[in-house]
């Protein structure tokens, strides 16, 4: 049974003169112990979609869903108290920006120990000892010194490590990593991803990795969910999706990743033309229609729905698997 099942998820922002839907019927699932990547460009709704798992919506946003089930429990039906317990113990969350996610007036170690006291029931010295252990387990050198540091005294990579320590402190079953490496430089990125992977293997928790970088996803995940304009447009095992991308958007994403072979050669990356859609303008039909090289009149009326193409691989584009020539894909691959 899946650890997490989300179905029919819709999220809308209300504002003067109505509301704008930014997530329009998303479904995905996470099995115990696996790493799932959620990929898409800014504004595709991927961050909001993963926050729905702990019902953590920004102001003015409301979510509805036909199903958000975690470990056999209905997240949508949770009372405030159950929800707090769910957030504290079942799901750990790492945010994108390690610079603003810490209380600037509290020492780092104190923030780790606080989580342990509040969520793991440890007290006094036990909490401190466990906090030091945790800091050490996320490869922070000389944890005793760092324990006494204020957030501004640590580097971005170091803060992201501390955030991981806090997120895994209650041994959650699922770790949500919302663009954990976006704010970091490339070398630190690899270390942080390695650290998350290592923690996952040791504890057996599942990881939901949100990123706009297909390279990161391909490297770290078992399965991938591709989002565009508030919809899931393709999902499946990473190797399968990379080898046989079905949706034109996924093809575009994959073909725009630079490869080592092309380094130094003057090859123009085949980007995706046009701009990401403004959620307010999307009415009906396929959200990618305006940028799609193989768009057909019927795409404007299309009811977006995922259909299987084998091996747990699903796509929202009904045309590619008919063997229609794809003009946009390829690039230098």
């Amino acid at each position: 049974m899946a650890l997490l099942t989300v179905a029919g998820l819709r999220i809308a922002f209300s504002h003067r003169g109505g509301s704008t839907e930014v997530v329009r019927g998303v479904e995905f699932a996470v099995e115990p112990g696996e790493t799932v990547g959620l990929v898409g460009e800014s504004g595709s709704g991927k961050s909001l979609a993963c926050r729905s798992i702990i019902r953590l919506m920004p102001a003015h946003a409301t979510m509805t869903a036909s199903k958000v089930e975690f470990d056999g429990r209905d997240v949508l039906a949770m009372s405030a108290k159950e929800l707090r317990d769910h957030r504290a113990h079942s799901v750990g969350m790492i945010f994108q920006d390690p610079y603003s996610c810490f209380d600037p007036t509290m020492r780092i170690g104190e923030q780790v120990a606080e989580t342990l006291r509040v969520n793991a029931g440890l007290e006094g010295d036990a909490a401190k000892a466990r906090a030091l252990e945790l800091l050490e387990s996320v490869d922070i050198a000389s944890p005793e010194q760092r324990f006494r540091a204020y957030p501004h005294e640590l580097s971005g990579g170091m803060r992201q490590r501390v955030m991981i320590a806090i997120a895994i402190s209650a041994s959650p079953k699922l770790l949500i990593a919302d663009e954990p490496t976006t704010a970091l430089d490339v070398t630190t990125q690899a270390q942080i991803l390695g650290l998350i992977e290592q923690r996952r293997r040791e504890s057996g928790m599942a990881v939901l990795l949100v990123s706009h970088d297909f390279g990161v996803i391909a490297q770290a995940c078992d399965r991938v969910v591709v989002m565009y304009g508030g919809y899931v447009v393709e999902a499946g095992p990473v190797a399968e999706v990379c080898a046989r991308p079905q949706h034109p958007y996924t093809r575009g994403l994959l073909s725009s990743i630079p490869s080592l072979e092309s380094a130094g050669r003057r090859v123009r990356r085949a980007g995706i033309p046009g701009q990401p859609p403004n959620p307010a303008d999307l009415v009906a039909g396929c959200p990618f229609a305006d940028r799609c090289a193989q768009v057909r009149p019927a795409c404007r009326e299309l009811h977006v729905a995922l259909e299987g193409v084998g091996d747990g691989h699903v796509t929202a584009c009904p045309y590619v698997r008919d063997g229609v020539p794809v003009t946009n894909a390829g690039g230098s691959r």
């Binding site: 953590l56 102001a59 504290a88 969350m93 007036t105 509040v118 969520n119």
Partner: protein, 285 residues
């Protein structure tokens, strides 16, 4: 000997390390006035209310540093005791008002909704009311005396802190670190008091340095009008008032306590300036 020297030089070096001369001077002035008033029973040469009619209206001399008033009470001793009561009352009313205002404002900004609306309107009403008139009105109900002044100033003073804290909270509510307290399943109480409040109290503390001076002047003013400290008790306002009739013949009774009041205000303002400009090291506040 060297130990004794350290007692003085180490705090002095720490003070110098704070950076600017403003904050250093401010801290020294306020500290000296505070220590002097705390030690009043030890260093005051006479009991504050000891009448000595034979030596009334004496100008400043070695026996009476600040002279004597119309019934021969030593002005220096009365200033020490007066400063003591004034500082105590001002500290209590300012920071009680600050505590009430910051807590109410922070909670209002955090929870929003009807509570926020009510707090906002009440605070606006209090602020729109002329400060002195409001204090006078409360004194009229509670009755003259320090208690009336204190209650009046707290009722009039919390509102600005509430407004300050509320607006800071509105901005802070969307900050990722408060979002993460939710993601970690912390309670609202913990999010507000352990994480939001320490981050927004700084603005209010800075403002309180202005407020301390204002409240000191209002307190002295009320005592001057006879609505605050009641005779024969000494406080700066009542001492100044008692010398008013002798301003031409015995200037010291009014002028010197007035100068002390100004000195105190100056010292506190200098500290406030220093804090505003960020002269304190990180973590000191």
């Amino acid at each position: 000997m060297s130990d004794l020297a350290h007692l003085v030089t180490v705090p002095w070096r720490r003070l110098r390390a704070l950076g600017s001369w403003e904050i250093t001077t401010g801290i020294v002035v306020v500290a000296v006035l505070m220590i002097a008033s705390l030690l009043a029973p030890l260093i005051a040469p006479y009991p504050p209310n000891q009448i000595d009619v034979l030596h009334s209206l004496q100008p400043p001399s070695w026996h009476h540093w600040m002279g004597t008033d119309f019934v021969g009470r030593d002005v220096w001793s009365r200033v020490l005791y007066g400063l003591r009561i004034d500082m105590l009352v001002v500290a209590v009313i300012t920071y009680l008002g600050l505590a009430i205002g910051v807590i109410v404002g922070t909670v209002a900004g955090y929870v929003g909704g009807w509570f926020d609306a009510i707090v906002g309107r009440v605070a606006d009403t209090v602020i729109a009311f002329p400060f002195i008139v409001l204090v006078l009105a409360v004194i009229a109900i509670v009755g003259p005396g320090l208690k009336g002044v204190a209650i009046g100033i707290i009722i009039a003073g919390w509102a600005l802190y509430a407004r300050l804290a509320r607006s800071e909270m509105l901005a802070m509510r969307e900050q990722p670190f408060l979002m993460s307290t939710k993601a970690l399943g912390y309670s609202h109480v913990r999010a507000i008091f352990r994480h939001a409040l320490p981050n927004l109290v700084r603005t209010s503390l800075v403002y309180s340095t202005v407020d301390v001076v204002v409240n000191m002047l209002v307190l002295a003013g009320m005592s001057y009008l006879g609505l605050g400290q009641q005779a024969p008790g000494a406080d700066l306002g009542s001492i100044i008032a008692s010398g008013q009739g002798y301003l031409l013949s015995a200037w010291w009774i009014t002028t010197i306590p007035g100068a002390v009041l100004v000195l105190f205000g100056l010292g506190v303002s200098l500290i406030g300036d220093g804090i505003t400009r960020g002269d304190l090291p990180q973590g000191a506040l």
